[in-house]
C-alpha cells in the first residue's frame, strides 16, 4: 500500500529537553485506564505541562506556535520505563500527530512500539541534535525533512546523518511495519517450529486448561 511507506517525513519540529524521559512522563498512568487509544493525544506530557504552567513556564507541547509540529526532537534514552504503547499512541494522536522522532538514543521497547505504528525514530549524535534544536529554536516554522531511507535529517542548509537499524528501516521504507500480515504468512513454518519444542507436547498446560471462564 503506497501510503504506508515511510520514506520521508516533512514538517515542523518540536523539541523536548532532557535525558531519560520515561513513558510515565509521556503519558501518565492514570490515562491508561481506558480500553482504546482514542483521546490520548491531548494528555501527552500532561504532568510536565501542568507543572511548568504552575510556575508560569510553557512546555513546548503547550506552545500554540508549535501545535502543528510533526517531528519530535529529543535527547538520550527517550521512552525508557514502562512498555506502554500508549506513549507513542499519545504522541501520534497529539494535534496533527508526531510522525517521526529524532534523538540521541531510544529505549528499546519504545523504539519497537514506534516501528509498529510506522513512526521512524532516528538516532543522531549529541552535537547534531543540539544543532537541530538550535535550528528549530531559531525558526519555529523551519521545514524539517527526515529522510528514512538515507537516514538524514535536513533543515535549511543543515543536513545531519543519523541511523536506523537496517531491519526497521526497511520495514518503514517498504511500508511493511505493520507486522501481523507478514507473521501470519508464515503459519505453516510456525506450526513446524512449535512441533520441535519439547514443552509444547507436555500435557501440563493442557491438562488444567479448560478455556475461558
Amino acid at each position: 500500500m503506497e501510503d504506508s511507506k515511510r520514506t520521508k517525513v516533512r514538517g515542523k519540529a518540536i523539541s523536548v529537553d532532557g535525558n531519560d524521559i520515561d513513558t510515565d512522563r509521556i503519558i501518565p498512568a492514570r490515562f491508561l485506564r481506558c480500553v482504546t487509544f482514542d483521546g490520548l493525544g491531548s494528555h501527552a506530557f500532561e504532568d510536565d505541562r501542568r507543572q511548568l504552567a504552575e510556575v508560569n513556564k510553557q512546555h513546548p507541547f503547550d506552545d500554540p506556535a508549535l501545535a502543528d509540529a510533526e517531528i519530535l526532537l529529543v535527547h538520550r534514552n527517550f521512552g525508557c520505563g514502562s512498555s506502554r504503547e500508549h506513549a507513542p499512541q499519545a504522541l501520534m494522536r497529539w494535534q496533527r500527530g508526531i510522525k517521526a522522532v529524532v534523538g540521541e538514543s531510544f529505549a528499546e521497547i519504545f523504539f519497537g512500539n514506534c516501528v509498529a505504528l510506522g513512526i521512524p525514530c532516528v538516532t543522531v549524535s549529541h552535537a547534531d541534535i543540539e544543532a537541530l534544536k538550535r535550528a528549530a529554536a531559531a525558526d519555529p516554522n523551519a521545514d524539517f525533512t527526515v529522510d528514512v531511507q538515507a537516514t538524514t535529517v535536513t533543515v535549511g542548509d543543515l543536513t545531519v546523518a543519523g541511523s536506523i537499524p537496517a531491519g526497521p528501516r526497511t520495514q518503514l521504507v517498504e511500508g511493511r511495519w505493520d507486522s501481523t500480515g507478514e507473521l501470519l504468512s508464515g503459519k505453516d513454518l510456525v506450526s513446524a517450529r512449535a512441533s520441535g519444542l519439547p514443552y509444547l507436547t507436555w500435557s501440563s498446560y493442557m491438562a488444567v486448561q479448560k478455556g475461558g471462564e
Binding site: 498512568a29 538520550r76 514443552y199
Partner: protein
C-alpha cells in the same frame, strides 16, 4: 566456542528470518493483563483474526484492581469497564483467566512463576516491561507493546532482532543486610539506566547461584531499569526444586524429559559473550535512590553525590532530580523524613520478601511512626493466603501496617492507592520516575523491603541493619 542460554533459546524458537532482517520468534508463554491487551483484542476483531494457540496465553488483572476492597463492580467505572473487557476477551478466545474469584489473581510477574507457568528454555512475553522477571527461570522473557500483543495473539510469534549478551558475574558473599534489591540497584548504578540497551543480561556467579528463585526474580525484574530488555539466570537445582509440583509444571515422565531439556539449554562453560563485567559481592551495600531514575542511588551510609561527580552529559538529569526531590547534594539519605512506606510490587511482593520483614518486626517492638502511612500489599492472592496462614498479617497489623489485597497498588497510579501532593515514599517497587506513584509531584525512594520497614518505623530513611539488630 559454546553458546549462551540466550542464543540456544533464541535459535530453538526462531521460525524464519523476515524480509527486514528480523527474526520471527515463537512465543512459549504469553501473559496478558487488563491495561495493554484491550486494544490488541480490538485490532484482532477489526481484522477478523482468531487466536491459534489460546492455551499458551494466560490473563490476570493487577494494575487497576483496588487493594482495599475488591468487590465488584469496582467503584471506579473505568476500572470496572477494563475488567469486564478482559473477561469478555478471554471468554471469546478461550483464554485462561486467573481470576480473583478462583484465588489465582495477582501481579502478572508474581502469578506466572507461582503457578509454574514460567519454565526454563521458554520464550515469555507480556505487554509489560517487567516481563524480564521471568528470566530468573532461564527463560528469555521480555516486555512488548500492544501491537506486538496483537501479533502474539494472532500468530503466537513476534518479529524481533537478536540481542547481544552481557554476562554480569558477582562472586563472593553478600554482607549481612544486603538483599537482591540492593544487588539490582547496585548493577543499575554501575552500568547506567541505558547501559543495557541492546543487551540481554546473563546473571552469574556465586551470588546468583546462592540466590533463591524469589531473589533471582527481584534482580531479573529490574533488568529493564538498566535498559536491558531481558535478564536471566541459568536454570539449576534451585530452579527445578521451585518448579517441582507446581500446578502447570510438567509431571512424572514429562518432568524427567523437562529436566533434560532444561539442562541442555544452560549456557555452555565456554560460551561466547559480547561483554562480561565482574564485581565482588562485598562491594555491595544496602542501597537507596535519591533521584528520579533507578540509577540515581547511593549506599545508605553515603551522601547524595554532587553533580560535578557525574559525566557532563548526565548532569542535567542530576540537577533535575535535585530540584524535583528537593534534596541537597552532599546530604545523607539517612534521616530524610518519609510520609508513606510501600512494600509490594512485582519486584518485592513475594512471600519471602514479606516473611523477612515480618520476622524482623517480631524482633523489634517499635510501631510504624505516627506520621507514616505504611502499606503491605501481597503480589498475589496466593502470597496473601500464605502470609495469613503464617500469621504474618497480624504481625504487620500490630506494627501499624495496613495489610491489603493483592495487586500493583502503589507501584503506579492506576488504582486508588496513590501518593498525595509532594509526599515522599519509601518503596520496594522498581521505578522512582517523576509522578510514578500517582501524584504528579510525589517522590519515591527505592530500597529493599527491610529498608522500607526500617523507614516506616523510624519515620525517616534509616539503615535497616541498625533498626533491626539481630
Amino acid at each position: 566456542m559454546g553458546k549462551s542460554l540466550y542464543k540456544k533459546v533464541f535459535e530453538k524458537h526462531a521460525v524464519r528470518e523476515l524480509a527486514g532482517g528480523q527474526t520471527q520468534l515463537f512465543m512459549g508463554l504469553h501473559l496478558i493483563h487488563e491495561v495493554t491487551s484491550p486494544q490488541a483484542f480490538a485490532m484482532l476483531r477489526e481484522r477478523g483474526l482468531s487466536v491459534p494457540y489460546p492455551e499458551r496465553t494466560f490473563a490476570t488483572c493487577d494494575h487497576i484492581i483496588p487493594t482495599h476492597n475488591q468487590l465488584r463492580p469496582f467503584q471506579d467505572d473505568l476500572a470496572e469497564q477494563m475488567l469486564v473487557e478482559l473477561e469478555r476477551n478471554c471468554q471469546q478466545h478461550s483464554i485462561r483467566y486467573l481470576s480473583p474469584q478462583k484465588g489465582e489473581q495477582g501481579v502478572v510477574h508474581v502469578v506466572g512463576p507461582e503457578l509454574g507457568l514460567t519454565q526454563p528454555g521458554m520464550t515469555v512475553c507480556c505487554g509489560d516491561s517487567h516481563t524480564s522477571t521471568h528470566g530468573a527461570f532461564g527463560a528469555i522473557a521480555f516486555g512488548i507493546g500492544t501491537s506486538q500483543v496483537r501479533d502474539v495473539l494472532a500468530t503466537q510469534t513476534i518479529a524481533m532482532g537478536k540481542l547481544k549478551v552481557r554476562r554480569i558475574e558477582i562472586n563472593g558473599r553478600l554482607r549481612p543486610g544486603v538483599y537482591a534489591k540492593d544487588v539490582a540497584l547496585f548493577i543499575i548504578n554501575k552500568l547506567g539506566v541505558q547501559g543495557g540497551v541492546g543487551y540481554a543480561y546473563e546473571y552469574a556467579g556465586d551470588v546468583f547461584d546462592n540466590f533463591s528463585m524469589d531473589e533471582r526474580m527481584t534482580v531479573c525484574n529490574m533488568s529493564i531499569e538498566g535498559g536491558a530488555r531481558c535478564g536471566y539466570v541459568n536454570p539449576d537445582e534451585t530452579t527445578y526444586e521451585y518448579l517441582r509440583g507446581r500446578q502447570f509444571a510438567p509431571k512424572d515422565a514429562q518432568w524427567e524429559e523437562a529436566v533434560q531439556f532444561w539442562n541442555s539449554i544452560r549456557s555452555d562453560a565456554d560460551a561466547d559473550y559480547d561483554d562480561v563485567v565482574r564485581w565482588n559481592a562485598s562491594e555491595i551495600e544496602p542501597m537507596v535512590t535519591w533521584g528520579i531514575t533507578p540509577g540515581q542511588s547511593t549506599p545508605i551510609g553515603s551522601a547524595i553525590p554532587f553533580a560535578s561527580e557525574f559525566p557532563a552529559d548526565e548532569r542535567s538529569v542530576v540537577e533535575e532530580a535535585f530540584g524535583y526531590m528537593d534534596f541537597e547534594p552532599g546530604s545523607p539519605m539517612a534521616g530524610k523524613k518519609i510520609d508513606v512506606a510501600f512494600i509490594g510490587s512485582c519486584t518485592n511482593g513475594r512471600f519471602s520478601d514479606f516473611e523477612e520483614v515480618a520476622k524482623a518486626l517480631q524482633r523489634n517492638p517499635d510501631k510504624v511512626a505516627e506520621h507514616v502511612r505504611a502499606l503491605v500489599v501481597p503480589g498475589s492472592q496466593t502470597v496473601r493466603q500464605r502470609l495469613v496462614e503464617a500469621g504474618y498479617d497480624k504481625v504487620f497489623e500490630q506494627a501499624g501496617f495496613e495489610f491489603r489485597e493483592a495487586g500493583c497498588s502503589m507501584c503506579l497510579a492506576m488504582n486508588p492507592d496513590k501518593l498525595v501532593g509532594r509526599q515522599l515514599c519509601a518503596s520496594s517497587s522498581n521505578r522512582n520516575f517523576k509522578g510514578r506513584q500517582g501524584s504528579p509531584k510525589g517522590r519515591t525512594l527505592l530500597m529493599s523491603p527491610l529498608m522500607v520497614a526500617a523507614a516506616a518505623l523510624r519515620g525517616k530513611v534509616a539503615d535497616a541493619r541498625e533498626v533491626f539488630k539481630a
